[in-house]
C-alpha cells in the first residue's frame, strides 16, 4: 500500500514538470506588458522601464525561465508583481476560503446528487425519477454566474436570508456561493449515483437479500447504497478539480476572497509569478486528489489490485 502510494507520488512529478513549462509558456504568451499594468494608466515611460528592470522582465526569456525553475526547486514562488508580497503568502491568504467553498460545494453536490440519483434509481421510470433527474440536470444547465446573480437577488436582496457577498468568516456567507458552485456537480453526481445504483440493484446479492425476506428499506440502505457509493467517491475526485475551476466565476460574483478571483485579477494585470504558481497549484491539487481517491477506493474495496 505504501509502496503503491509512493510510486503514484513519483508519477506526479513528470506531469507537474510539464505543467510548469506550460504555465511559464502560457503567461509569457499572454499579450500585454506587466510593467505597464503595474505602472498605472497615466505612467511615464521611465517608470515603465524602471519596473521592467525591477521585475526582471528585461532579461531574455530562457534566463527568466531558468530563474523561475531554479526558484521553484527551492520552493520559492517569487513575489507578486502587483503587491510585492511573496506569492506564497498571497496564496496562503486565499487558500482556505477557496478550499472551504469547494468543499462545501462538494458536500452539497454529494448530498443532493446522491439523494436525487438514489430516488431516480429506486423509483425508476416513475414520476419521482423524472422529477429528481429534472431537478438535478437543471443545475448543470444554468450558467453559474447567472444562477449566482439570481440567488443573490432572491435570497439576499428580497428575502434577506443570507448575506449578499464577501467572506468574513461566517457560515451564513458560505451558503449561496457554495450552492451555486455545487449545483453543477450535483447533476453529475446524480447521474453517477443513478447508474451505480441500477448496477448494484441488478446484482445477485440484492435479489438474494430480497429473497431471504430482508426488508426493502434495509436492502436499499445496507446493501445497495454502500456499494453504489464507490463510483461516487471516484467522481468526487474527478469533479474536485472542476469545482476549483468553477470557483473562478463564483468567486467573482460573490466577492469571495479566494484563489479563483485572484486568478482573474492576476490575469488582468499580467502578474506572471502569481499566474504560474496558481496554475501549478491547481494542477497539483487535481493530480493529488485523484491519487487520494485511488487510495480511498482501494480502502473501500480491498479487491482492487495495485498495478
Amino acid at each position: 500500500m505504501i509502496r503503491f502510494f509512493l510510486k503514484r507520488c513519483l508519477s506526479m512529478i513528470p506531469v507537474l514538470f510539464v505543467v510548469s513549462i506550460l504555465a511559464f509558456a502560457f503567461v509569457h504568451l499572454l499579450p500585454g506588458d506587466p510593467a505597464r499594468m503595474m505602472a498605472g494608466q497615466d505612467a511615464d515611460p521611465a517608470t515603465i522601464e524602471l519596473l521592467r528592470q525591477q521585475l526582471g522582465l528585461d532579461r531574455p526569456l530562457p534566463v527568466q525561465y531558468l530563474r523561475y525553475i531554479g526558484n521553484l526547486c527551492t520552493g520559492d514562488l517569487g513575489m507578486s508583481l502587483r503587491t510585492q508580497i511573496p506569492v506564497f503568502d498571497e496564496i496562503a491568504l486565499r487558500y482556505m476560503p477557496t478550499m472551504l467553498l469547494a468543499m462545501t460545494g462538494m458536500a452539497w453536490s454529494v448530498i443532493f446528487g446522491v439523494f436525487f440519483g438514489a430516488v431516480a434509481a429506486i423509483y425508476s421510470g416513475k414520476w419521482q425519477d423524472y422529477l429528481a433527474m429534472f431537478v438535478s440536470v437543471s443545475g448543470i444547465s444554468v450558467p453559474q454566474f447567472w444562477l449566482g446573480l439570481l440567488l443573490i437577488q432572491l435570497f439576499a436582496v428580497y428575502l434577506g436570508w443570507f448575506p449578499v457577498a464577501g467572506y468574513t468568516g461566517k457560515a451564513s456567507e458560505l451558503v449561496l456561493p457554495s450552492i451555486t458552485l455545487g449545483a453543477t456537480v450535483a447533476a453529475i453526481m446524480a447521474r453517477f449515483t443513478l447508474s451505480a445504483f441500477l448496477d448494484v440493484l441488478s446484482e445477485e446479492y440484492i435479489s438474494t437479500a430480497r429473497a431471504k425476506g430482508v426488508a426493502e428499506r434495509l436492502v436499499m440502505w445496507k446493501h445497495a447504497f454502500r456499494n453504489a457509493l464507490i463510483p461516487v467517491v471516484t467522481m468526487i475526485g474527478l469533479q474536485f478539480g472542476f469545482l476549483l475551476g468553477g470557483s473562478v466565476v463564483v468567486e467573482t460574483v460573490f466577492a469571495w476572497p479566494g484563489l479563483g478571483r485572484y486568478m482573474i485579477e492576476a490575469v488582468a494585470v499580467r502578474d506572471y509569478p502569481v499566474l504560474q504558481a496558481l496554475l501549478l497549484l491547481y494542477s497539483f491539487h487535481f493530480v493529488f486528489i485523484n491519487l487520494l481517491v485511488d487510495m480511498v477506493y482501494a480502502l473501500i474495496n480491498p479487491e482492487i489490485r495495485y498495478e
Binding site: 433527474m133 448543470i140 444547465s141 447567472w146 447508474s195 478539480g241 472542476f242 473562478v248
Partner: protein, 283 residues
C-alpha cells in the same frame, strides 16, 4: 423481450422511447435546430436593427421578449443566436471528439510509449480545470467565437480520448476482433472497422451532454469578457451584457437565460435517454 423485433435500431428505439423526458427533449431539439436553420424567416425583426427610443422596453405584443439596451428585439436576437450557440456547442465538441477519439483509439490500440505519451498529455490537460484552460487559450488567442471553439474543444479532447481508450482496450481482446485479426485484417481495418463502432455508444452519449457544457462554457467566457464580440447575438454574450441590468430590466437576462437553460437541459435529458438506450448496463 420479443425476439423477432431485435434489430439494433429497434432495440435502441424501444429503450429510448421509454424515457419520456428524452423523447420530449428530442422533439424540442429538433424544433430548436429547425428554428436555427430558418432563423431569418422565423425571427420577427432584424436582430441588429437598433432604435434608441425603444431602449429596454419590457415584453409587449410587438416585442414578445422585450427589447435590449439599444432597442433591438430580444426574441429575434435569441432566434438568430440559436444558430451561433448551437454552432459553437456542436463544432467545439465535434472537433474535440474527432481528435479525442482518434487519439484514444491509437492510444488503446497500440499501447506502449504512444499510449503513455497520449495519456500523460491528457493528464496534463486534465490537470487544468476546464474553465481555466479555456481562459488561458482565449486570453492568448484573443476573444472571438473561433477561439472560443478552439478553447472548448481542447478541453473536451482528453475525456473523449479516455472513453475511447478504455473501450478499445477491452474490445481489442474481444473474440471477434481477435478473429478478424487471425484472418489477416489490417491494423487500420481493425481499428476503424472493428473497434471504433464498438466505442461509439459511449462517445455519442458523452457528445450530447458535452454540447450543453460547451454552450455553458462559452457563456461563462462571455461573462469574463472573453467570448463572442458584439453585435453577435450569442446567448452567453446577451446574458453577460444584460447582467448589469438585473433588477432594472430583468427581461433582458431572463429570456436568454431561459434559452440557454432549456437548450442545455434538453441536451442533457436527451443524452440521458441515449445512455439509457445505448448503455447495456441500464435496463
Amino acid at each position: 423481450m420479443d425476439q423477432q423485433t431485435i434489430t439494433p435500431f429497434g432495440l435502441f428505439w424501444h429503450k429510448f422511447k421509454q424515457r419520456k423526458t428524452a423523447l420530449v427533449a428530442g422533439v424540442f431539439l429538433v424544433l430548436l435546430i429547425a428554428t436555427a436553420i430558418l432563423a431569418p424567416y422565423v425571427a420577427p425583426y432584424d436582430p441588429f436593427a437598433i432604435d434608441y427610443n425603444l431602449s429596454m422596453m419590457p415584453p409587449s405584443p410587438e416585442h414578445l421578449a422585450g427589447t435590449d439596451v439599444y432597442g433591438r428585439d430580444i426574441l429575434s436576437r435569441i432566434i438568430h443566436g440559436s444558430r451561433i450557440s448551437l454552432t459553437v456547442g456542436f463544432t467545439s465538441v465535434l472537433v474535440g471528439a474527432v481528435v479525442g477519439v482518434t487519439l484514444g483509439l491509437i492510444s488503446g490500440f497500440f499501447g506502449g510509449i504512444l499510449d503513455g505519451l497520449i495519456m500523460r498529455t491528457s493528464d496534463v490537460l486534465f490537470a487544468f480545470p476546464g474553465i481555466l484552460l479555456a481562459i488561458a487559450i482565449v486570453a492568448i488567442l484573443g476573444p472571438g467565437l473561433v477561439n472560443v471553439v478552439v478553447a472548448v474543444s481542447v478541453f473536451s479532447m482528453p475525456t473523449f480520448a479516455r472513453i475511447v481508450r478504455g473501450s478499445t482496450l477491452s474490445l481489442k481482446e474481444s473474440l471477434y476482433v481477435r478473429a478478424a485479426q487471425s484472418v489477416g485484417a489490417s491494423r487500420r481495418r481493425l481499428m476503424f472497422v472493428h473497434i471504433l463502432p464498438g466505442t461509439l455508444s459511449g462517445v455519442i452519449v458523452y457528445f450530447t451532454m458535452r454540447i450543453g457544457t460547451s454552450i455553458i462554457t462559452a457563456a461563462s467566457l462571455s461573462f469574463l469578457g472573453l467570448g463572442a464580440q458584439p453585435p453577435t447575438p450569442e446567448w452567453g454574450a446577451m446574458l453577460a451584457e444584460s447582467r448589469d441590468y438585473i433588477g432594472v430590466a430583468d427581461h433582458m437576462t431572463i429570456f436568454p437565460g431561459i434559452a440557454i437553460f432549456l437548450t442545455v437541459l434538453f441536451f442533457n435529458l436527451f443524452g440521458d435517454g441515449l445512455r439509457a438506450a445505448l448503455d447495456p448496463k441500464i435496463k
